[in-house]
Amino acid sequence: MSNLAKIAFTLVLATAGVQFAVCGDGSEKLPNPRTDFLAYTAHALREHFPNVVLTNQDNKKLRFYDDLLKGKIVVIQFMFSNCERLCPMVTPNLVKVQKELEKQWPKKVHIVSITVDPDHDTPQVLKAYAEKFHVQPGWQFLTGRRADIDHIRRELGLYYPEDTQFEHMNMITIGREPTGQWITMRALNRPDVIAYTVRRLIPGGTGPDHHSALSRHSATN
């Protein structure tokens, strides 16, 4: 162990019973993992969300973490308007998901579609794309600096430059930012399954819980 490491290790040991809730400048509270582990996890996961500036289809500048994720339940999709293979099926699939969710859980879920072709997909192009698919409010289409977008893709585990066989990975990222619960799934999964997966993260979203597997089974079966 280097000397620095030893010093740091000693310091860590010296902080027996670390206080989680208070911070030096009082501006930032680290949640206590003992009382709210999910919030603590959410805090730790922030390093995966670069707070880069993106521009939506209405030319509004939005920060990826502060404006699009923080405090929200989200579905994140990567797309590009000229995509001819899978994206033309994915967006209509997510339109169905949005319709189903808005019926039961209006305004609860935010869909974030980020282009992987920012040179072509200007806000105007994205606006036309959104209109073509009749998306409802609560769905942002975003463009930005290519390096920033690639950074987001890399952090979400959906971009490996050496994987050259795909235009982009056709996966969606579903998450509830304040609890740090994240699921990655196929963008072309059944829309009812995608909607149910989002509902798993909404308080009460999957209906009342009940005990299971009692009367259904008999020993002779």
């Binding site: 740091a8 860590v12 996961l45 922030r46 585990g157 619960q181 699921i183 299971s212 009692l214």
Partner: protein, 617 residues
């Protein structure tokens, strides 16, 4: 105060745009504080790349806090405690009949609760680690652990288990008994109907009547969330014993008890890699789509423990409980000797014949049972349990180090190093028996190729049911079936779990197998980029052969693949042929219904590298 860069390097860096450091709070206590991150963009980018180089861009955050190696003992989860069935509200009358069951079958009753709890993994002085586990915290003489209690049953002893989910709002769990012949409703496949919602319970009936003495385990198997849930600690051992095993008088059998205060001579050991943050909290990366790799190495939930041992024979039940990491193990003494492993069993139980090897590879979810002989070692001798397999990318291991005898004392992020250490500390009489290469049992099920039915109507006898593990054009996982009856176009198809609740369970079924028949399955990996430890539920299989997917050239079976198997290490460009019979035991139901096959790199599993197959009467 420490240099900022040193803090970053040590993993005390606490989040984007801010830096965590130690500071004296207004109250006078020490605590963590967040500073604005004033590094330049260039420095951040450097740091980002540094991190991603370290973990291959797939797991972990910064380095976990360091820990003095071999400074803690080995936790050994206690055996689960039996309960009276009358203490389980709502238990069906037919089961509420006590130890002889309603049908005369000996039945043991248990209850565990899945919950969050603090467990002291780092030394006192560091915060306790919040874990998710079965009836945690598990307190043992060797220290605290997140592992659940160990279930121990004899073949023919039914286990009735109630599992309560008290993990918290919006947290579900599915519990899989890994290795056993179990009815499909109690198997714990990643199916909607198997989810236990928070605040509810589910009762499981494990017949234990169609297996042999074996090292099974139980763990979470929730849909899309398994990687996170097992990382947090939802796992434990499930050990089965039988008369042929007892007759062998292996180390640690009931007639070979350990002296008071010492570890038993039959020792279950689960190897896992984890990542901790500066507050000793577990940090899972839900975006580690290639497979999560940790940078701290734990045995039974303790970081690099010391195992106090005698100079005599031991039976070790080795489980790779890691999410995505492969290990190659070797035992090396500090006096320069290699202690060979006598492999006596694999996933599904004991072998016919023991085989000796100096080292072996173990993939996630595989079990390898060994006898090691420390006889003749002087007290004070240290026996290093070394890992020689490098892996910095969740996709696959990178290969062996040149010399496994001289690995680092503490593994780096590539995993190479001493994972734990046996310290030979005492001598004791060894009444157990074991001879290298000895016959162990002659009743291990054998499945004959000549009895294998064509799995698909219209194909010739001896035909195989083929499964290809590959990626689709959007990078998604596909398991392609070549069964023309369920998949007429022979298309690559992704996992389809069917409509969600409250709709009746109706996943796409990719294979239908009849109870009582024998089939040959072929698992094909045509890719050079990935390795997949494939797990099949319900049955134990025998591996027939292992060949290069391109040339067909035989690669031979490994010493860990000679018995009953439920995990198949499908390395890059490897094809494995398996055989099994869809049996069921005398006291249980026929075990019809839906089961799954999936990759046990649990991140691949969560990203749908899975199919559903059905067993029909």
């Amino acid at each position: 105060m420490l240099d900022r860069r040193a803090l970053i390097k040590l993993g005390l860096y606490g989040g984007s745009g801010a830096l965590l450091h130690l500071t004296q709070l207004k109250s006078g206590a020490w605590g963590w504080a967040l500073d604005e991150d004033d590094r330049t963009e260039h420095e951040k980018e450097d740091e980002h790349h540094h991190r991603h180089r370290k973990s291959g861009g797939i797991g972990g955050t910064n380095g976990s806090p360091p820990m003095q190696p071999f400074s803690v003992g080995l936790p050994l989860p206690p055996a689960a405690t039996k309960v009276n069935p009358s203490t389980l509200p709502g238990i069906p009358n037919e089961y509420n009949t006590g130890a002889q069951g309603f049908d005369g079958v000996p039945t043991s009753y248990y209850q565990v609760t899945e919950r969050q709890a603090p467990v002291q993994i780092y030394p006192a002085g560091m915060p306790a680690t919040m874990v998710w586990g079965f009836s945690v915290p598990t307190i043992t003489p060797g220290g605290q652990t997140y592992l659940g209690p160990t279930f121990v049953a004899d073949i023919g002893e039914r286990v009735y288990l109630r599992i309560n989910n008290n993990l918290g709002p919006n947290i579900t769990s599915i519990v899989h008994h890994h290795g056993a012949h179990v009815g499909s409703d109690w198997d714990g496949s990643a199916l909607w109907s198997q989810q236990i919602h928070n605040g509810t319970f589910k009762d499981f009936v494990y017949p234990n009547d169609d297996d042999i003495a074996a090292t099974h385990w139980y763990h979470d198997h929730d849909i899309d969330m398994t990687g996170h849930n097992v990382f947090m600690g939802l796992e434990g051992f499930f050990l089965l014993h039988d008369a042929p095993e007892n007759a062998l008088n292996l180390p640690g059998n009931p007639n070979d008890p350990a002296p008071a205060g010492e570890l038993p001579f039959d020792l279950p050991l689960v190897f896992q890699d984890r990542t901790f943050d500066a507050n000793a909290q577990l940090v899972y990366n839900p975006f580690a789509s290639r497979g999560f790799l940790g940078d701290m190495f734990l045995v039974n939930g303790a970081i690099q423990p010391t195992i106090r041992a005698a100079n005599r024979k031991y039976r070790l039940r080795i489980l790779n409980g890691s999410n995505a990491r492969f290990y190659q193990f070797m035992l090396q003494t500090n006096t320069g000797a290699t202690i060979p492993f006598n492999i006596i069993g694999s996933d599904g139980g004991l072998y016919e014949t023991a085989v000796q090897t100096d080292s072996f590879l173990i993939a996630p979810a595989e079990r390898v049972e060994v006898v090691v002989d420390f006889t003749g070692l002087a007290t004070g001798t240290q026996v290093m349990f070394n890992n020689c397999m490098m892996q910095t990318d969740g996709r696959k291991p990178a290969g062996l180090v040149a010399n496994c005898a001289t690995v680092p004392q503490t593994p780096g992020p590539d995993g190479v190093g001493t994972i734990c250490r046996f310290d030979i500390a005492f001598s004791v009489k060894d009444p157990s028996s074991f001879t290298p290469g000895q016959t162990l049992r002659t009743d291990v099920p054998v499945y004959l190729e000549s009895q294998a039915l064509p799995p698909v109507p219209g194909t010739k006898p001896g035909a195989t049911r083929d499964w290809r593990f590959e990626r689709g054009q959007g990078g998604e996982w596909l398991v392609t079936t070549f069964d023309t009856t369920t998949n007429p176009g022979l298309q690559a198809m992704p996992f389809d779990p069917g409509p969600p609740p409250p709709a009746p369970e109706n996943p796409r079924i990719d294979a239908t197998c009849k109870v009582g028949t024998t089939e040959i399955w072929r698992l094909i990996n045509g890719s050079g980029g990935w390795a997949h430890p494939v797990h099949i539920h319900r049955n134990q299989f025998r591996i027939l052969d292992r060949v290069d997917s391109g040339s067909g050239h035989s690669l031979g079976l490994l010493p860990t693949q000679l018995g009953l198997k439920d995990v198949f290490r499908l390395e890059q460009n490897v094809t494995i042929r398996l055989i099994s019979k869809y049996t069921s035991g005398p006291t249980s139901d026929k075990q019809t219904g839906k089961y799954v096959m999936h990759c046990h790199n649990v991140e691949h599993e969560d990203m749908a590298m899975m199919i559903v197959w059905e067993c029909t009467p």
